[in-house]
Amino acid sequence: MTSTTATSETAPPLRAQRIEYDDATPMRFMAASVLWGIVGMLVGVVVALQLAWAPANVHATLGFGRLRPLHTNAVIFAFVGNMIFAGIYHSTQRLLKTRTASDLLSKIHFWGWQLIIVSAVVTLPLGLTQGKEYAELEWPIDVAITLVWVLFAINFFWTIARRNEKHLYVAIWFYIATIVTVAILHVVNSLAIPVIGGTLKSYSVYGGAQDALVQWWYGHNAVAFFLTTPVLGIMYYYLPKAAGRPVYSYRLSIIHFWALIFVYIWAGPHHLLNTALPDWAQTLGMIFSLMLWAPSWGGMLNGLLTLRGGWSKVREDPVLKFLAAGVTFYGMATFEGPLLSIKSVSGLAHYTDWIIGHVHSGALGWNGFMAAGMFYFLVPRLSGRPLYSRRLADLHFWIGTFGILLYMVAMWVSGVNQGLMWRATNPDGSLMYPTFVETLIAIRPMYWMRLIGGSMYLLGMVMMGYNLVRTGLTAKVVTTKVDVVPLAPAPEVPWRDVIFSRPIVLTVVVLGLAGAGMASNAFASPLFLIVAFVVALFGVLAIQHARRSGGAPFHRILEGRALLFTVLAGLAVLAGGVAEIVPALIVKPVEAVDAKPYRALELEGRDVFIAEGCYTCHSQMIRPMRFETVRYGDPSTLAESVYDHPFQWGSKRTGPDLAREGGKYPHLWHYRHLVDPRAITAGSNMPPYAHLEGARLDLTRTGDKMHALSKVGVPYTADEMRDAEADARAQAGAIVAELAKDGAEVEPDTQMIAVIAYLQRLGKKPEPSKGATEGVSMQEPSTKETTK
């Protein structure tokens, strides 16, 4: 290793300049984070109450299905979003020894982001949604997010370009990865085609399995690159600062950074294990999730080991308490994650509350506590006043920790319990708990326990808000001025020599060989893998040898080259996305030939289903497991959802799966059940949807919707689009007539009738309507006819 240190490089005597940091921006972001955090978690408590006690669904716009997306969006993008912006704006200036490049861009970023949040608060309860989890916001808001993010990126990289510190510290690496990757994820996942004619409605350009893959590539990496990497960067700045201890290991930073961003991006399909997604993609998702364990723990270790010798301080300082606990929760969540990604474990845990517990240990424990640690550290320093009450902060810590533990234990018990009940069978293969609601009633006490845990956490947040406001969260910031020495122009290593340096060439060659091995057959594969292993071994030895004989450390050079660093980080992230998603976009399932798009009224019903957020509690994906097919019918196939834009496979079963709901019950059952779920199923916690009876459909627009869908590959004919309204009325008339026969009078052009039409279509082929079927029946795997 070299013994030259960074300080000796700034030797040339340039005149020092006095600069003033922009601390108003981070303070503003912190205030917004605290405010939205309390709002978002309050909504969380409300939805938790609704799950435990259905009468809490007091109004159509405040039902669980509409509030749940508001809760997730508010906590992820408003609470954590504003928190990471605060941390990035504050620490970046100091790590680069320069003021943020543009105050105007900082202001536009701040107010633009708050405007986006407000528009989410308005549109989501109104049912304006794209129906993709954590990406529900409709297209105009998506465009605004893209713009604001690009301005943020410009401001950030412009600041880097003006830096007075040659080498980028590890926190900056994580910020770079965050900004680049979130931009890619958001744009690719949100691509949608708007319905022409002045509405906010749009349909995802992806359908079925493709949409599932893109959505969970996004969804998982929103966790990775919005909730994890920026917060790791924040940890690398504030933890050593608060502890006054050196970071444990620079080389661990390097290894876990690159490993984390490269591996994370592949792991998305672990949200789709045992579904109809092609098996190779599922296996990739699983093995990369397992490989993610060590890189994640690298971050935890570097944080916890930095505290070596400083634990007595942890006992006294609320800042360190929160940071240390936050990092510990990170370690727990990133151990649980790979565990849940094992196919058989997922078979038990998927669709249950275990997953809800898992995300909350991350969100409350890691994000919430890291935020609190950072706020308690920063607000006194930026306002120039001591923390108003350390005891209150301590109380916040303990009530928060206890709240998280209650929450997690409740969800573990509930998830494992319900998962086991779903799969419990008698010796003859019949279900031990054939009615779904039995399994819900069994876990109801856990829903109350979760509500208590969540409420305690919220109480802690309110205490923090009060404490911080009294300290000076809303006060004017004190100005911090420092003298910095501008960077002296120095000869640079040519960029080609960096790109084609041994570590990078070796990495590319080894990964290429390994990739070739994975893509080839049973006999060629071991050869590739053995060659990859040998090359890796000798390559590392060669690099070590060169290092000992005095070469400059490669990564140190790279850290001085922000653009090269950004490009390489971008490539590391893109590799996994391209390898997984591109094949899925090209291949179309063979069986799709036999699938038929929804009829006009069914499509309208589907839009109601999405707007009401039904997908937040009902999956449409029957997994190939006997206990599951006994309950719901044959396993779902790729063809069945090929025209679903967006896909509706779901991720949680608070209610039963609906993939083969069609024809299972008469229209009257659905009508009564939607009006008052508990009139049909005692003990159900589904919100009532009586308001659908009075909500009129605008059938003049249905043709436009079909037209939009036809642009993204749904094969509607010109006749079908023209006759959409007539067809919808005909189908509605038939349903209304049958309901009337059973004694229920419902108006035909209502959302109620449309959603019944949709539910009755699920898992069924449509009745042959006038158009001739171009039925080129291909050989199809076993599961052809639907059951029940």
Binding site: Y237, Y250, W258, P434, A522, P666
Partner: protein, 200 residues
């Protein structure tokens, strides 16, 4: 992954807790990676490669769909061997309808499963009234059993035997036999053919 770039020099003990960089007052050590952490990383990579080879390259392991087919084949074979729990003959069902333990089980199943559509007292709501003398699909005990076991998919009556199993299906049939003729108050209007209980 760049995991292998950094040397592990056991001989250079001077690298323990030695500050190598400092920025904005934050110092960095360059300590060795904990061995157990490295083994976790290598182990996970080795497992991943092996798992992929086993399931994807060599296809030795079963995919979820293949495993499901095998499970269903096994179940079908078992079911072919084991006959149903007591044949559901009319006589057996009538006998069962006089057995208190069967009735207790049947009532339990009825309340949790059937009451949603047929009302807790059998008076009917979404589904028909089970307490009058009118029948849509036959009033004979074996016909009632078949209606419950195999369902009437067109009318929205699910097939219950796959979910409930033979025993509970028979028990609930026995319970329904006991409801016939109770003509509860406020029951649904009669549907189907009049088949008084004496006719069976």
């Amino acid at each position: 992954m760049k995991s292998s770039n950094e040397p592990n020099e056991p001989e250079s003990s001077e690298s323990v807790d030695r500050v190598i960089h400092e920025v904005d007052g934050i110092q960095e050590y360059d300590n060795k990676l904990p061995n157990w952490w490295l083994y976790t990383l290598y182990g996970a990579v080795a497992f991943a490669v092996g798992y992929w080879y086993w399931y994807q390259n060599a296809s030795i392991g079963q995919s979820p769909l293949e495993a499901y087919q095998a499970e269903m084949d096994r179940a079908a074979a078992e079911q072919a061997m084991a006959l149903t729990v007591g044949d559901a003959t009319p006589e057996a069902l009538v006998a069962l309808s006089k057995d208190p333990s069967a009735l207790a089980l049947g009532k339990q199943v009825f309340v949790s499963t059937c009451a949603a559509c047929h009302r807790a007292d059998g008076g009917g709501s979404v589904g028909p009234n089970l307490t009058d003398d009118f029948w849509l699909h036959g009033s004979a005990p074996d016909k009632i059993f078949r209606t419950i076991a195999s369902g009437v998919p067109d009318k929205g009556m699910p097939a219950w035997q796959p979910q409930l199993g033979a025993l509970k299906t028979q028990a609930v049939t026995a319970y329904v036999l006991g409801l016939v003729g109770t003509n509860v108050a406020g029951g649904k209007t009669p549907q189907g053919e009049r088949e008084p209980i004496s006719a069976r």
